[in-house]
C-alpha cells in the first residue's frame, strides 16, 4: 500500500484542539495489555516530546513573529498529543516497571531500525547501541525482582529476552568517543533521516525519564543504578544526535520531524492490537498530516525549496515492534567487546577509554555490578529470561554456584 503524506489532507488546525473530557483517556491495564502496545505508547511519547522541544528551540532562534505564532499554535496541539499518548500509561505501574518497558522499547525499536537501515555506517551505530540497552534491561530486571518480587518477564512476556549484553560498566567511554560522523543530507536515503530522528528521540526521552525518576527511589542500590544508567543515556543521545547532518536548515528539520510523526503514527495504526489505542494513532495521524502541510508551506516560503527534495515520495515500510531474538543473538555473538575510538569502533580497550574507566569507577565495582551481586546474594542466582536458549557468548552464561 502506498501512502504519500504530502498528498493527504488532515484535520484543519482550528479543529484539532481537544477539551478536558477528550483528553481524559482511559489508561491501559498493566497486567493484561499487549507489551508492544505499551512499547508503542512509550516510543510515541518520546517522539512527541522531541516535537515539542524542537519547536521551542526553533522559536528561540526565530526572529520572525509570524512564524513564532505559527509554531506556537502547532506546538500547543502537539502538547495535547503528548499528554493523550503518555497518559495511556497506568498509575498502577511502578516506576521500575515502566523503566523495564522503556528498555524493551530501546531493544526492539533499535534492533528493528538496525535491520532496516540502508546505510552501513548508520547501521553499525544502531547495532552498537542496542547491545547496551539490552544489558540495561537485564540489570533493571534484577533490581525489579529484588524490590518488587516480580519477574521482568511478566512485563516483556518473552517478546524480548532478558540476559547480559555488553556489560554496563564498559559503557562509560570518553565523551569525545561518543560523537559519530553525520550522514550527508544531500545524499542520505530519506529513510536514514527518519531512523536517526526516531532513535535519537527515544533515547532522549529515556535520558529525561531516568534523570527525573531516579531519585524517587529510597533503596540505595536503585538510586545508584539509575544514576549510572542515566549517565549512559547521555552518551547515547550524543551518539545518535551526531548522526544527523547539522547542515539541515530549521525548515528542513521541521518538515522531517512532521513527516516522521506521520510515518510512526501510520506504522503504529497498522499494527495496533488494542482498538482503543489504534483509534488514537489514527486520529493523531490525521492531525499530523496537517502539521506536515504547514511545515511544508513554511519551508517553501522561507527556504525557497520543495519538501519533495528532502522526503520520500511515499512512506517507507511500516516500522514494526516484533521480537528480535535471533538478530540480537547474532550481535551478542559478534559485537559484545566493541567500544568506540573517535568516530569508529574498535575491539581493544584503548588508552582514553581506560583512563575514563579508571576515573569514573574509582577502583570500585559500579552499581550495575553491585546490583547483580546483591541479587545473587538474596536469591542465590541471577534473574534471566532466555526463551531462545543459552547465551550465545560462552563467557556471558550464568555461573552455576
Amino acid at each position: 500500500m502506498t501512502f504519500n503524506p504530502l498528498e493527504q489532507r488532515g484535520i484543519p488546525l482550528d479543529r484539532q484542539l481537544r477539551n478536558w473530557r477528550e483528553m481524559d483517556v482511559e489508561p491501559i491495564d498493566p497486567d493484561h495489555c499487549d507489551p508492544y502496545t505499551r512499547c508503542r505508547i512509550i516510543a510515541m511519547n518520546g517522539i512527541e516530546t522531541e516535537a515539542v522541544m524542537f519547536s521551542h528551540q526553533f522559536a528561540r532562534h526565530c526572529p520572525d513573529p509570524e512564524v513564532k505564532r505559527q509554531l506556537a499554535q502547532v506546538r500547543y496541539i502537539e502538547q495535547q498529543q503528548q499528554k493523550v499518548v503518555n497518559w495511556l500509561l497506568p498509575g498502577l505501574s511502578s516506576v521500575l516497571e515502566t523503566t523495564i518497558a522503556y528498555e524493551q522499547v530501546a531493544v526492539d525499536l533499535t534492533a528493528w531500525v538496525a535491520r532496516a537501515e540502508p546505510d552501513l555506517y548508520l547501521q553499525q551505530a544502531y547495532q552498537f547501541g542496542v547491545l547496551e540497552d539490552f544489558d540495561h534491561l537485564y540489570r533493571y530486571a534484577n533490581l525489579y525482582e529484588m524490590i518488587e518480587h516480580r519477574k521482568a518477564d511478566a512485563i516483556v512476556e518473552g517478546l524480548t529476552e532478558v540476559m547480559p549484553g555488553r556489560p554496563t560498566k564498559f559503557h562509560h567511554r570518553h565523551p569525545e568517543d561518543n560523537v559519530r560522523e553525520p550522514y550527508d543530507r544531500t545524499t542520505a536515503n530519506p529513510l536514514s533521516k527518519l531512523h536517526a530522528l526516531t532513535i535519537m528521540s527515544a533515547e532522549q526521552q529515556t535520558m529525561n525519564f531516568y534523570m527525573n525518576v531516579g531519585p524517587q527511589y529510597m533503596e540505595p542500590i536503585a538510586r545508584q543504578l539509575y544514576q549510572e544508567i542515566a549517565l549512559i543515556e547521555e552518551e547515547h543521545v550524543t551518539h545518535y544526535e551526531s548522526l544527523v547532518d547539522p547542515g539541515e536548515t530549521w525548515w528542513e528539520q521541521l518538515v522531517t520531524h512532521e513527516y516522521n510523526e506521520c510515518y510512526l503514527y501510520h506504522s503504529f495504526m497498522e499494527q495496533e492490537s488494542d482498538p482503543r489505542v489504534k483509534a488514537i494513532w489514527e486520529l493523531h495521524l490525521n492531525m499530523e498530516l496537517e502539521h506536515l502541510r504547514i511545515a511544508c508551506d513554511l519551508m517553501r516560503r522561507h527556504d525557497g525549496r520543495e519538501p519533495q527534495e528532502i522526503v520520500a515520495p511515499q512512506l517507507p515500510p511500516v516500522l514494526t515492534f516484533e521480537p528480535n531474538h535471533g538478530y540480537v543473538r547474532e550481535l551478542l555473538d559478534t559485537q559484545m567487546d566493541l567500544t568506540t575510538l573517535g568516530t569508529g569502533y574498535v575491539q581493544e580497550a584503548h588508552e582514553r577509554f581506560q583512563k575514563l574507566q579508571e576515573q569514573i569507577h574509582g577502583g570500585e565495582e559500579p552499581p550495575s555490578e553491585r546490583v547483580m551481586a546483591q541479587h545473587r546474594q538474596l536469591f542465590g542466582g541471577e534473574y534471566r529470561s532466555q526463551p531462545s536458549g543459552e547465551h550465545p557468548d560462552m563467557a556471558s552464561r550464568e555461573r552455576k554456584e
Binding site: D31, G91, E148, K151, M218, L378, F379, Q386, H391, E398
Partner: protein
C-alpha cells in the same frame, strides 16, 4: 537456571535483611504473582492458587492493619486521613474477597470478579507504596522498622505462597480455613510478636 522457574517462589530471599517496608513491597509482588497464577491456571491448580491468594491477602491486610497503619497514623499531622482511606480500601477488598471466597473457581462469574478484586488490590498497594511507606521510612528508626518486620514475618509464616507438598488439593487447602479465621490467627501471631 536461565529459565524463570515455574513456581512463583522457588527462590526465597533471606528474610533477616529486609526491613518492614521492603517486606511489604515484596508481598505486594507475591500477591500480584498469585493473581497471575490464578488467571493462568484452571481446575484443581486454579482452586489451589486461589486458596493461597486468599490466605496471603488476608494475612497481608491484617498485618498491615495491626503493624503498619498504627505507626503511619502518627507519622505526621494529617496522616490520619491517609490511613483512613487505606482502611476503607482494605475493607472493600476484604468484602470482595469474602464474596469470591465462597465461589467455585470454575464459575463463569469468577474471573471477571477476580479481575475487579485485582484492580482494587493493585490500586490499594500502589497508594500504600506512594503515600504511606514513604512516611514510615522517613519517620521510623531502624529499630522500629526491624520490630515491625519481625511482626510481619510472624504473620507471613502462617501464609503458604506456593503449594506445599501434600497439600495440593483444594480440599486439603480448605483446611486453612475461611478468611475470618485466617484474620484471627494472623492477628494473634502479630500481637504476640509485638509483645502486646
Amino acid at each position: 537456571m536461565s529459565q524463570a522457574p515455574e513456581a512463583p517462589d522457588a527462590r526465597v530471599a533471606p528474610e533477616s535483611s529486609e526491613d518492614a517496608v521492603a517486606l511489604l513491597m515484596r508481598q505486594h509482588g507475591d500477591i500480584r504473582n498469585l493473581f497471575d497464577e490464578v488467571e493462568k491456571t484452571s481446575g484443581e491448580a486454579r482452586a489451589d492458587a486461589f486458596r493461597r491468594l486468599v490466605h496471603l491477602l488476608a494475612v497481608h491486610e491484617t498485618a498491615e492493619e495491626e503493624v503498619l497503619h498504627p505507626m503511619a497514623r502518627t507519622a505526621y499531622a494529617g496522616a490520619e486521613k491517609v490511613v483512613e482511606k487505606r482502611l476503607a480500601e482494605e475493607k472493600e477488598a476484604k468484602e470482595l474477597l469474602s464474596r469470591l471466597d465462597g465461589m467455585d473457581t470454575e464459575d463463569p462469574k469468577f474471573l471477571p470478579q477476580l479481575l475487579t478484586l485485582r484492580t482494587e488490590v493493585m490500586k490499594h498497594a500502589r497508594a500504600e507504596e506512594r503515600y504511606e511507606f514513604l512516611h514510615i521510612r522517613r519517620n521510623s528508626s531502624p529499630a522500629q522498622l526491624a520490630t515491625m518486620a519481625k511482626a510481619l514475618r510472624a504473620a507471613e509464616a502462617t501464609a503458604p505462597t506456593h503449594p506445599h507438598p501434600g497439600v495440593e488439593s483444594a480440599t486439603k487447602n480448605a483446611l486453612l480455613g475461611p478468611v475470618a479465621a485466617i484474620v484471627d490467627r494472623t492477628r494473634d501471631a502479630v500481637r504476640k510478636a509485638m509483645g502486646r
